[in-house]
């Protein structure tokens, strides 16, 4: 089937519009953080911190062990019985705007722009697929657009589900904007048919799993990096930015978010590698041949496996494990950009 040039053109247009909307969202998120910092609420929190700073530092080592906040609920159990429930409270989500009206308005605008950007982004990816009559993630440009879309989708879905992920807005939008920008300017290639090696339904299975995994690892990395910064702050460093850090979730919550995302996506990454192996067997006659992409996917897998083990090992839990997770994502990035551009192997297709 021939390429629908009109659709291909629309796709490019939508991606460009998505870039504009995400850029607007990014600056609005920045504004939200900035205005929020200078709010009275922010300052009062800083003061409180300055008072309680010492005590706070002392308890840090036992962050994971002793939950400080508890919530007590009294509910009517029926029959006139009152059930008292006491549980370790989930973290109160601090607001980024910190009560500052300007920050709040800019923040709302940011979320709105995120949704608009996602709409354009989705349309761009959709029309790319319609133009070429196939899944729109068959080369580096399309894969980047799709992975960024997966990330954006994950964040906005959690937001819609009223999960406490508002703090992710700025970093996620920054990464989405960067990925899409790199794709649009450096990796762009026309919508075309596929090389023979990609004529397989495994393209749908293997690459889709890889796209989602990559996006999710990106989200986990945001949480991990913020965890490291936040726990440094909780230990007393970076105190100049207390006003900012106090509007982030606690280090325990950030660490848990990172772990949950990785624990959720690691089986999918395993599946992506496995589906790739099955496809490789069908296309090249061997399921594993240490092609650079296979090797680096394996390295990514092993390092994330090391993270999961480290997290259950004394002396590795916490920061050391977080550094392992960062190293693992560095491997993800190299597996994508490095292997595709620097090393030659069997995973080189049209437009990289």
């Amino acid at each position: 089937m021939s390429i629908n040039e009109n659709f291909a053109h629309y796709s490019n247009l939508f991606i460009a519009l998505a870039l504009v909307a995400y850029a607007a969202a990014f600056f609005a998120y920045c504004g939200e953080w900035a205005f929020g910092t200078s709010s009275r609420f922010g300052r009062s929190i800083e003061k409180l911190d300055a008072k309680g700073g010492k005590a706070k530092g002392a308890t840090v080592g036992k962050q994971a062990a002793a939950p400080a906040v508890e919530s007590v609920n009294a509910t009517d159990g029926g029959n006139g019985v009152t059930v008292l429930t006491r549980a370790v409270a989930e973290d109160e989500e601090p607001t980024i705007s910190g009560g500052n009206l300007r920050a709040e308005i800019v923040g709302r605008f940011a979320v709105m722009a995120s949704f608009i950007g996602f709409g354009f982004h989705f349309a761009g990816v959709l029309f790319r697929g319609l133009a070429a009559h196939r899944v729109p993630w068959a080369n580096m440009y399309e894969f980047s657009c799709a992975a960024a879309l997966a990330m954006s989708f994950a964040y906005l879905t959690l937001l819609v589900l009223r999960k406490k992920v508002r703090w992710m807005g700025l970093p996620v939008t920054a990464i989405v904007l960067m990925t899409l920008g790199i794709a649009y300017t450096l990796l762009y290639t026309d919508a075309e048919e596929l090389v023979p090696a990609l004529h397989s339904y495994w393209l749908y299975i293997h690459v889709t799993a890889a796209v989602i995994s990559t996006g999710a690892f990106g989200v986990a990395t945001v949480a991990t990096a913020l965890y490291l910064l936040k726990s440094a702050n909780e230990e007393g460093s970076l105190s100049r930015f207390n006003g900012t850090f106090d509007r982030l979730p606690s280090s325990v919550a950030l660490d848990r978010t990172a772990y949950r995302v990785i624990a959720f996506i690691f089986p999918l990454w395993t599946f992506a590698i496995m589906a790739g192996a099955i496809w490789a067997e069908k296309a090249w006659g061997r399921y594993w041949g240490w092609d650079p992409k296979e090797t680096w996917s394996f390295i990514v897998w092993v390092v994330y496996a090391a993270y999961l083990h480290a997290r259950a090992t004394h002396g590795w839990k916490g920061k050391a494990a977080a550094y392992v997770a960062l190293a693992a994502f560095a491997c993800v990035l190299f597996n994508y950009f490095g292997v595709n551009t620097l090393l030659t192997g069997k995973h080189s297709y049209a437009g990289l």
Binding site: T75, V81, D190, G285, Y287, G289, A305, A312, H314, L343
Partner: protein, 565 residues
């Protein structure tokens, strides 16, 4: 490799640790305690052995081995590997004469078969087995054992719900057992000084999944080994109109597993009738291939009926478990070489190897003399599928399909040395005993040097009445990989089980819920429900709340005549 080695100590909140001190005994690990350090105790030889074993099966060493494994794989992706592309290793040797032998000594061109790589994953698997076997046994016992007795003070647990009732303790506990069993908890009832209790646990499948995953890894390794010992792989290059029958000599390369003999090779044969390829003709992906089709006639055995099939990149031909994959393609110009007396020295296709995306292909034509000891003729140079001849520059191909084929050849006469010992490359001439002929065509471009330029149908006459060469036509060749790997039958199911195990291991939550009924001073009874996560972040807040509420709603108030659940 044990994922929750220090689970019991790690994952409980501080409050809860006290409450479940009794459980510490059942900590599921063979690993040494974290504070053991790496100090070598003086325990004699057996003690040393035990100490080594305990270190090897500890999580720390497993972690270190995992890091080593990932680091060790890196050079395999950066340096050329013999197992992937031996010709690249040769090129590397030529361009790095000083470093290549040193790297070779370190087995850096065979990383994945090297002693050190094998040592790392060997140790990793020993560590894994040493960890998994005792854990499997412990898990088996844990699944059969009853959940532990309820802690005395349930208020210390991370989630706790309570209400007062006038209902009888027995009624509440019966109801609680029923409710928890309904939620597929494993339950046990007991009594102590403080009153009666129900203890319930759920999520054993998490550890089952964890063990299944690690056992499956052993399955994958076994399958890989089986494939290595029992399988074979080969490659063969077939030109249109020619065929292949499965015997050792007809392979261009063949690797037999240690337990496979030449007689074990299957008895199939096939012939390449036609190869077609199509390419992108415009845009920024110009010249990218779009379709490859190898039209093949094959027979499963010598006496079987012939069948036709279109072999494509993702559509291998499968013959009784042996698969034939389309791996590469290229051009074979058909030439006829005659000597000065008109004897045909060579007539047929000659394989040229594509060197770039436009298939500028290099190769050599060898035409041994008609009589022994006579003058051999040889040609080497380029085949261009779509030749473009810019003025004053070297001709080059500008498209991968054969739209304007051209041969550009240097001609040699003398001795090809084809009878000498040693292998000679099919793709280049040994010109040590040959003399280059002056063949420059009058109209030829200046830059092409001393070479013939032939289009299809053209003939060039060689100087000194040495003979002639005619470019008769163009055929294509296809390269096929032929592979048999019985280990796949073990690897694939193991891999599927590994993913299932992983989902269970990372997705399921293990938790305990206790219900305790105690007498209060006012004659009513206090019902307490509390929960504890045995895996991180799995505090069963909702389950505890719901259990408490459903109990409160179900026991009658007051309840003189028992429950009505």
């Amino acid at each position: 490799m044990s994922e929750q080695t220090d689970e019991a100590a790690e994952l409980l909140t501080e409050d809860a640790v006290e409450a479940v001190t009794a459980e510490r005994a059942e900590k599921l690990s063979t690993a040494p305690k974290a504070d053991d350090g790496i100090a070598v105790p003086s325990l004699g030889f057996l003690g040393m052995l035990r100490w080594t074993w305990r270190q090897l099966t500890s999580m720390r060493i497993a972690l270190v081995l995992l890091f080593l494994l990932s680091l060790a794989a890196i050079p395999g992706s950066i340096l050329p590997q013999r197992s992937i592309d031996p010709s690249k290793v040769l090129t590397f040797f030529q361009s790095h004469t000083k470093w290549a032998p040193i790297l070779d000594k370190l087995q850096l061109f065979d990383v994945f078969e090297s002693v050190w790589f094998e040592a790392i994953y060997g140790l990793l698997f020993i560590s894994l087995i040493g960890c998994i076997v005792p854990r499997s046994w412990a898990h088996f016992k844990a699944m059969r054992a009853n959940p532990p007795a309820a802690p005395r003070n349930l208020k210390r647990l991370p989630v706790h719900a309570s209400f007062s009732t006038t209902a009888q303790a027995d009624e509440v506990l019966k109801l609680a057992t029923k409710r928890l069993k309904g939620r597929r908890f494993k339950t046990v009832r007991g009594e102590d000084r403080a009153g009666g209790w129900v203890s319930a646990e759920k999520g054993f499948l998490r550890e089952t999944g964890n063990l299944l995953f690690h056992l499956s890894l052993i399955g994958i390794l076994t399958g890989v080994a089986l494939g290595h010992f029992l399988g074979f792989k080969g490659a063969v290059l077939v030109t249109e109109g020619t065929g292949f029958s499965d015997s050792v000599t007809s392979y261009d390369s063949l690797t037999l597993g240690p337990w496979v003999g030449a007689q074990d090779l299957p008895d199939f044969s096939f012939k390449l009738n036609k190869f077609t390829a199509s390419y992108q003709e415009s845009g920024d992906q110009f010249a990218q291939p779009r379709t490859f089709d190898a039209y093949v006639t094959w027979k499963a055995t010598q006496t079987a009926a012939a069948k036709n099939v279109d072999v494509q990149v993702n559509e291998p031909l499968s013959v009784n478990g042996t698969n034939i994959f389309l791996e590469g393609h290229g051009y074979s110009p058909v030439v006829e070489v005659k000597d000065g007396k008109g004897h045909v020295l060579y007539n047929g296709p000659v394989t040229f190897l594509g060197q770039d995306e436009y298939f500028d292909s290099s190769g050599a034509i060898k035409a041994p003399s008609y009589t022994a000891g006579g003058t051999d003729l040889g040609f080497q140079g380029w085949f261009l599928p779509t030749a473009f001849v810019p003025s004053g520059q070297m001709p080059a191909s500008i498209f991968p399909a054969a739209q304007n084929p051209m041969l550009i050849l240097s001609a040699y006469s003398g001795n090809l040395n084809m009878n000498g010992g040693g292998d000679q490359s099919v793709y280049s001439l040994d010109t040590s005993d040959m003399k280059q002929l002056s063949v420059k065509a009058k109209g030829a471009s200046a830059a092409s040097g001393n070479a013939l330029e032939l289009k299809v149908g053209q003939t060039a006459t060689l100087p000194n009445s040495l003979g002639s060469i005619t470019f008769v036509g163009v055929k294509q060749w296809a390269q096929f990989n032929i592979a048999y790997d019985p280990g796949q039958k073990v690897v694939l199911p193991s891999a599927i089980l590994a993913v299932i195990g992983l989902i269970g291991s990372l997705g399921l939550r293990r938790r305990r819920i206790w219900v305790r009924v105690s007498e209060q001073a006012d004659g009513t009874r206090l019902v307490e429900v509390a929960g504890l996560a045995r895996t991180e972040g799995a505090t069963p807040t909702a389950e505890v709340t719901q259990t408490a509420q459903s109990l409160a709603a179900a026991v009658r108030q007051p309840a003189p005549d028992g429950a009505s659940a």
